[in-house]
């Protein structure tokens, strides 16, 4: 009752004050960027249901207002609505700034079309919907949607993207604005990414996207976070997938809460569980995997300011084909000759050695503010922790001790200023600082593959965009990077001397007397890198568009290229880095032609990449050990050229039928002797025909044919090996690529409305429909086993 009186009393006071109803609320509506007046903006007082419209000078005036608190909403076509609270106790004049170029500036609009990172670069986007259909797979699998992107596999669960023939350290993977640091130099190290956590993915071929880094000679994969609508809402998504091959599946679920004020919070997780996968004729023993991922994101996002705090965790436990762990070159010969893996066990869910066990944590905090009449400033800090265990087949007490135990910790800070007051002249400037520490645990009882090191990076870049006419845009950028690597490594004294380091690098020796056959060294290297890009975009008319770009990029050698020194089990080879390796410098030209009308979209992308001091690994001889003989593969530098054409066509044949083609053609050679480069993807063409009928619950079905030619150009690294027990030489064919193959894939999808707000999408697909036996040139296990056989997948997706 007491409470009631208080309320009454409040109303009396309130009305007492509200007697005066002659106040005026007036002001100006201006463009946030350039301060120009906005004409015909609506000014609406919510409580009173009164509105007015600004005049030519952006002025407005609403009179006869009583004392009180009001909500005023300013709207204008093409602008973001702005809501303010006013408390009228007298006449009030206020200037309000609306963002007029929302379509240009917002990261992602609702239609799913986002501005590109580079204007003139070769950038392709993969939509959220496509990503969802790959929910149970890996990043490397999804990226094959882009013409010119293939993958380097170790089996079918370790999938690394290959962009125009380049992979690993030559590619930058950005996730939620953070450059992924996860021992990416290793060809058997898949990116630690849960694709379910990305709202969209774009692939930028070449190094034109200077804001991300100057060393992306191959390209950039940019995973963008979900953009949430500013409404008071709570929504969720669950994707459940099951498949016959691997007899497992995945479960992804996400829940998001958003507020009109701009606050948001999102939590999502993914679990995957597969047993042994199967080739058409046999079980691929020990190829199962378990994976778990968790992501949390919260923040505040309005036009003028915002921040984002996110945490991502992923854990992968991946089995590696048992038959691929071999002891020496004779074992490799036996494997190659046997046509099928030498170890085939019955199907199991157990994952034994060899296997990888990797944890990756990523924490990011970023904030931005838009400054009127100027642009946007952004700051960011991120921390990543990557822990990698690799378990080899070992004996005795070491059975459960990892052979590789690495912990990589990376801190980065980033600050960026974007001046976009004039959208015809956009300038971005940024600086970056990074510290990285790698720790190789000595408890493994196996000599370190990669040494302990501290790495310091500093970068600064400047990019700009000039709109000359509406159809003609020039973009250009410049970047400088400094890298310092300070390593502490034990070398075998015999190896140190054999490589001539005793003469070239005596200053690195710390202690060569106290460690028996080993010595401690402290190699320190500094690298200064310059990268630059310039390009132009020209719209001939509504249908034809041309893009061209010239870029230069420098990449310092990665830890493996410098420090590797040891036996690689699955390849049966000794890999040796070289401290003399210097930076690679790539010069890349790209040209793109795009034709688009209502039925047809054609994109033709051509490139030529010349790389000075390209680092390659190649056999240089054989070394005899007590395990037998091993070929020695050493990193060396050469000049190389790569060129190719990627084609992507979609065509609507009729209302119901559409056709698409993605083809890519690439060649790579050393320039001085025209020797082909190793691991260049073969020519491939993917053709698909799709049938849609929206009336049948959004029914669609597609049949896809994937034809991969045999790679006929490869470096001949074959060698003769003496088999003492048989008293004869045998040829070890490690070079010849496998035969061409053709796969048929089929899929169908339907939507069912479960309630007002929830939709169930059912997706059935069959990969390798004909259960074809095949091996791929870029699968490192191709010596040991066939690739996957038929796989039937069912995916259920519920949005609620």
């Amino acid at each position: 009752m007491k409470y009631f009186y208080w309320v009454i009393a409040f109303f009396i006071i309130y009305y007492g004050q509200a007697q005066n109803c002659s106040y005026i609320f007036s002001g100006k509506v201006l463009d946030f960027h350039d301060g120009k007046a906005i004409e015909a903006a609506t000014v609406y007082i919510k409580e009173l249901n009164r509105f007015t419209v600004t005049n030519r000078d952006g002025d407005f005036k609403i009179d006869k207002l009583c004392t009180g608190e009001y909500t005023v909403i300013f709207t204008h076509i093409g602008c973001e609505d702005k809501e303010i609270k006013i408390n009228l106790t007298s006449n009030l004049t206020q200037t309000v700034r609306l963002e007029h170029h929302i379509e240009d500036l917002n990261q992602i609009s609702l239609t799913g079309k986002a501005p590109k990172q580079t204007r003139s670069g070769q950038e392709t986007r993969i939509s959220a919907e496509t990503l969802e259909s790959y929910s149970s797979l890996s990043l490397g699998d999804v990226l094959k949607e882009v013409s010119g992107v293939t993958s380097l596999n170790t089996g079918n669960t370790i999938v690394k993207p290959v962009i125009n023939g380049m992979h690993s350290s030559r590619i930058i993977i950005m996730t939620n604005g953070v450059r992924l640091q996860d021992q990416e130099w290793g060809v058997e190290h898949a990116p630690n990414i849960d694709i379910n956590n990305a709202g969209a993915v774009s692939v930028i071929k070449g190094s034109a996207a200077l804001a991300f880094g100057g060393d992306a000679i191959g390209g950039v994969v940019n995973l963008k976070p979900f953009q949430f609508k500013k409404t008071d809402s709570i929504f969720g998504k669950t994707i459940l997938s099951g498949q016959t091959n691997g007899r497992g599946g995945s479960l992804h679920t996400a829940i998001t809460k958003t507020y009109q004020s701009g606050w948001y919070a999102s939590l999502n997780g993914t679990l995957k569980n597969y047993g042994d996968f199967e080739a058409p004729d046999y079980v691929l023993s020990n190829t199962g995997m378990r994976s778990g991922a968790l992501a949390f994101q919260t923040g505040y996002d309005t036009f003028e300011k915002g921040f984002d705090l996110s945490y991502n965790y992923i854990h992968n436990n991946i089995g590696i084909l048992r038959a691929s762990h071999i002891g020496n070159i004779n074992d490799l010969v036996n494997s190659i000759n046997s046509q099928q893996p030498l170890v085939i066990n019955p199907f199991t869910r157990d994952i034994n050695s060899p296997r990888q066990d990797v944890d990756h944590h990523l924490v990011k905090l970023s904030a931005f503010k838009r400054i009127k009449d100027f642009g946007k400033i952004m700051v960011q800090y991120d921390y990543q922790n990557n822990r990698r265990f690799e378990f080899d087949v070992r004996i005795g007490d070491n059975r459960n001790t990892p052979a590789v135990d690495l912990e990589l910790k990376t801190h980065s800070v980033l600050a960026q200023v974007r001046k976009d007051i004039n959208l015809d002249r956009i300038y971005t400037f940024g600086i970056m600082g990074r510290y990285q520490n790698n720790f190789a645990n000595p408890d493994t009882g196996v000599r370190r593959l990669i040494p302990d090191y501290d790495k310091y990076d500093f970068g600064a870049f400047f990019t700009s965009e000039w709109k000359i006419t509406n159809d003609f845009i020039i973009d250009a950028g410049l970047r400088y990077d400094f890298n310092r690597i300070d390593a502490q490594k034990f070398y075998r004294i015999s190896r140190w001397n054999d490589l001539g380091y005793n003469e070239d690098f005596p200053e690195f020796v710390v202690n060569d007397t106290d460690f028996g056959t080993q010595m401690l060294t402290n190699p320190v290297f500094n690298y200064h890198n310059i990268s630059a890009a310039i390009g132009l975009t020209y719209d001939l008319n509504d249908e034809h568009k041309l893009l061209t770009n010239l870029s230069m990029a420098m990449r310092p050698p990665n830890p493996a290229e410098l420090f590797s020194e040891g036996l690689h089990h699955s390849a049966a080879r000794i890999e040796i880095g070289d401290l003399r390796n210097d930076q690679e410098t790539a010069y890349r030209w790209s040209g793109t032609y795009n034709y688009q009308n209502n039925q047809t979209n054609v994109v033709v992308e051509a490139f030529y990449n010349y790389i000075n001091n390209y680092i390659v690994i190649e056999p240089t001889g054989t070394e005899q050990t007590i395990r037998g003989a091993f070929p020695v593969w050493q990193y060396r530098q050469t000049n190389a050229q790569l060129f190719g054409i990627d084609l992507s066509v979609t065509h609507e044949i009729s209302e119901r039928f559409s056709f698409s083609n993605k083809s890519s053609f690439i060649k790579g050679y050393e320039t001085n002797n025209n020797r082909p480069l190793i691991d260049i993807p073969a020519v491939r063409t993917i053709n698909s025909i799709e049938f849609n009928k929206t009336e049948w619950n959004n029914f669609s079905t597609a049949l896809t044919s994937e034809y991969v030619f045999r790679q006929n150009e490869f470096p001949d690294n074959n060698f003769e090996q003496f088999i003492a027990s048989e008293d004869r030489f045998v040829l070890v064919d490690v070079s010849t690529p496998p035969a061409a193959y053709h796969l048929l894939n089929w899929k169908a999808s339907m939507d069912f409305k479960l309630s007002e707000k929830s939709i169930l999408n059912v997706n059935l697909s069959v990969n390798n429909l004909l259960n074809e036996n095949y091996r791929d040139y870029l699968n490192r296990l191709r010596y040991f086993a066939d690739d996957l056989g038929r796989n039937v997948m069912l995916q259920l997706k519920i949005n609620y």
């Binding site: 762990h325 071999i326 002891g327 020496n328 004779n330 074992d331 036996n334 030498l342 170890v343 905090l365 904030a367 503010k369 700051v379 800090y381 921390y383 087949v393 070992r394 004996i395 005795g396 070491n398 910790k409 801190h411 800070v413 600050a415 600082g433 520490n437 720790f439 190789a440 000595p442 493994t444 009882g445 196996v446 000599r447 370190r448 040494p451 302990d452 501290d454 502490q488 034990f490 075998r492 015999s494 190896r495 054999d498 202690n511 028996g516 056959t517 080993q518 040891g566 036996l567 000794i574 070394e623 005899q624 050990t625 007590i626 395990r627 037998g628 091993f630 003492a724 027990s725 008293d727």
Partner: protein
């Protein structure tokens, strides 16, 4: 201004995190485990005669130096030798005897012997828990006439001991992975 404050806070935070790094000191060397540096095959004649020792020693492991292979002397014609093999890690002091680990996991290991040039024939004289040969002990019956040839010793981890010929010492179908492979040039006088 706020941004600058924020940035400096981040920088401080980063420095604080960095100062927690745990390995400013020199790293510890890795003591290689389960490494076999040395293989010793001892051949003792049944009855009288001179024992023969075949040794392969590679102290730098996967390093560039080749193993040092020595044969103490020629074998005698028409003689039966009792053979045994020993695997050592001589990087440890005293040397670690890996033979014991092989014997403990006898069902997962097998030593294969092969000869060329008709030096003689080899018979296993030991077996694992399942009654399959292990190969740490054997006999070598040398040829009746003088000859030279190569004796190759291969230690396989996880061979398929049930595959055809494997229990007779034929490595062809054994599979598994090679832990040791050493060849000795042997003369029979």
């Amino acid at each position: 201004m706020k941004a600058i404050k924020f940035l400096s806070m981040l920088a401080i935070a980063a420095l604080t995190f960095n100062s927690c790094s745990n390995d400013d000191d020199a790293p510890d060397p890795v003591n290689e485990e389960e490494v076999i540096t040395t293989v010793i095959v001892s051949l003792t004649p049944q009855g009288s005669g001179t024992a023969v020792t075949l040794t392969s020693r590679d102290l730098d492991g996967d390093g560039p130096n080749a193993p040092i292979v020595t044969v103490s002397g020629p074998l005698s014609v028409g003689t039966v030798y009792n053979g045994s093999i020993q695997f050592l890690n001589e990087l440890e002091n005293p040397a670690e005897d890996i033979t014991e680990e092989v014997a403990e996991e006898d069902d997962e290991h097998q030593v294969f012997y092969s000869v060329t040039g008709g030096i003689g024939s080899i018979t296993y004289t030991d077996s694992d828990g399942n009654g399959n040969p292990l190969g740490l002990a054997f006999t070598l019956s040398t040829s009746a006439s003088a000859t030279t040839g190569v004796m190759t010793v291969i230690l396989r981890h996880e061979p398929n001991k049930n595959a055809a010929g494997v229990s007779d010492g034929d490595i062809t179908n054994a599979g598994g992975e090679t832990d040791i492979e050493v060849s000795f040039n042997v003369a029979v006088n």
